[in-house]
């Protein structure tokens, strides 16, 4: 990995109003990697994703993506730089049909999937393409939230807890989906509480505590780190 990282975050601080949520986050994600942010609730994982995306504007530090400085960009330019975002609450629009939800995010680069390819990957979305978006089940909504990013041609996905609250069989399907995306060369930064799920697809891990990244390690070191992880995550 001698290339420059696709995403590089240096000394990222972020605030929600007056409360200081991130205290200097450093992380890197290379082209084609799947990296997982681990940590307990409230340590700043979601805030990290939202700050990278530009949804949190009160932030300092450096964020560069694909050679572009994300700090100076207005919010709607982040996606155009090639970042796709799948929020924790999924963000499916109730006043839009499944179809409309799917084609809502504008295409930002070539190389995205066509709607037909996406429907091949998600046949149950195709069946319900004219339903109201929020009438889908939780798992289907999660699928839709990921699916709509695949059309846009983004280089990298920021995924916030895609398995939260879903049945094991759905979690498995999402795992397969992410593996497929990885094979196709998608770069993924994943926030995940489900440690076992994450360990199956991630190449590397970052461990967060108190608004900072306190450790980073590849999947191979996982067995040696179990003690530390148990302590930090309380799993």
């Amino acid at each position: 990995m001698t290339d420059a990282p696709l995403l590089s975050v240096r000394g990222l601080n972020a605030w929600y109003g007056e409360s200081h949520a991130l205290h200097g986050v450093d992380l890197e994600v290379f082209q084609g990697e799947t990296v997982t942010l681990l940590g307990r609730n409230g340590v700043g994982k979601t805030t990290t994703l939202r700050s990278i995306m530009g949804l949190i504007r009160k932030r300092t530090g450096e964020i560069s993506f694909d050679g572009k400085d994300l700090m100076r960009m207005p919010l709607h330019h982040t996606a155009r730089a090639g970042l796709g975002y799948v929020p924790e609450e999924r963000g499916i629009f109730a006043t839009l049909t499944v179809d409309e939800n799917l084609i809502l995010p504008p295409v930002v680069a070539k190389g995205g999937m066509s709607v037909e390819e996406i429907f091949d990957l998600f046949p149950n979305l195709k069946e319900r393409r004219n339903s109201q978006g929020t009438k889908l089940s939780g798992g289907e909504q999660q699928m839709l939230a990921i699916a709509r990013m695949l059309r846009t041609g983004v280089k990298m996905l920021l995924l916030d807890e895609p398995t939260e609250g879903l049945a094991p069989v759905i979690v498995q399907r999402i795992g397969e989906l992410l593996a497929t995306l990885k094979q196709r060369g998608m770069t993924i930064l994943l926030v995940e509480q489900n440690f076992r799920f994450a360990s199956r697809i991630a190449d590397r891990f970052y461990l967060m505590e108190h608004g900072k990244v306190m450790a980073g390690f590849p999947v191979g070191e996982l067995p040696d780190r179990m003690g530390q992880l148990h302590e930090v995550l309380g799993v």
Binding site: G54, H76, T78, A79, Y85, F93, T95, L104
Partner: protein
């Protein structure tokens, strides 16, 4: 003579037509208010002033430039829409992060300024705007005499309302608008230029008010005060309908116009206040409004 409920049929239908005409304007204006409010969370108090502005731009085009009704129908919404865009960029866009009441107060001040300027130059008396030649005269429908222009107003406003509804509910741009109404930050994070969408939406809402104004010019007198009393009635319409639904705003507008027309037939003294009375009743029975989703 045919009578209905002890009232000559002609008079009855005549008032009903007046109600339908008024309802057409209520519908167009409350539609614009609902679109603007949905996305910007601003109650556009200047909507009445923009309606008046539309009528005046049409009037001035005719008097000073000899531009007739049909071109004005296109030029007026563009002019009023552009003024709306300028206002949004310079001022309203600075108010999105604070209490929505400030947007109401700002546009209230704006309405006073616009109306004040026109009162200063044109006084308070009305200026007549004649019906375009093509639509002069009337048609005998057998049961009543229909002035052609009034028929045109009903058809045109219906087309405008349904066209707007279609554009919002069935098109890609409309999907952006609906999604941004629900969660503007996320839509922007997807790469949609939401600030631009907000600007265009206010421009569109303003243009709708301007279009209503030029449509109204031959029906009512073109006067600086034509918008200020109307906007309060339209607010009542909006409270009755609730601002959650585009179709709700349209339907409520026509319904209340007709209710007003009927009141003129049976109890003319109350025709000024019937919409407010209906508003009060709706507040008792269904506080969120007939089509409202929020409490």
């Amino acid at each position: 003579m045919t009578m209905i409920f002890g009232i000559p049929l002609q008079a009855f239908l005549g008032q009903l037509l007046v109600g339908l005409i008024n309802g057409s304007f209520y519908a167009m204006l409350s539609l614009g208010l609902a679109i603007i409010f949905g996305l910007l969370r601003v109650i556009n108090f200047a909507h009445g002033a923009q309606y008046m502005l539309g009528a005046f731009v049409g009037y001035l085009l005719l008097v000073h430039f000899g531009v007739g009704y049909w071109p004005a129908l296109l030029i007026v919404p563009i002019v009023v829409g552009i003024t709306g865009i300028i206002i949004e960029r310079l001022a309203l866009s600075k108010l999105y992060d604070i209490d929505p009441l400030y947007g109401l107060l700002f546009t209230f001040g704006l309405a006073l300024v616009i109306e004040g300027i026109f009162r200063y130059y044109f006084g308070v008396s009305g200026n007549p705007y004649s019906v375009p030649e093509l639509l002069a005269g009337g048609t005998n429908l057998g049961f009543m005499f229909l002035p052609n222009y009034r028929g045109w107003v009903v058809v045109a406003s219906l087309a405008v309302c349904l066209g707007t509804w279609f554009a919002i509910e069935k098109t890609k741009l409309g999907a952006y608008l609906r999604a941004a109404t629900e969660n503007p930050r996320l839509v922007q994070a997807f790469g949609v230029n939401v600030p631009l969408l907000l600007t265009l939406t206010y421009g569109l809402g303003s243009a709708l008010a301007g279009l209503a104004g030029i449509l109204a010019a031959p029906v009512y007198q073109v006067s600086p005060l034509m918008g200020s009393n109307l906007i309060i009635v339209v607010f009542a319409v909006v409270v009755v309908g609730g601002m959650g639904s585009i179709m709700g705003a349209i339907v409520t507008g026509y319904m209340l116009g007709l209710a007003e027309g009927l009141t003129k037939v049976f109890y003319p003294e109350a025709s000024n206040i019937v919409i407010f009375v209906i508003m009060a009743i709706v507040l008792l029975v269904r506080p969120a409004g007939l089509f409202g989703k929020d409490a």
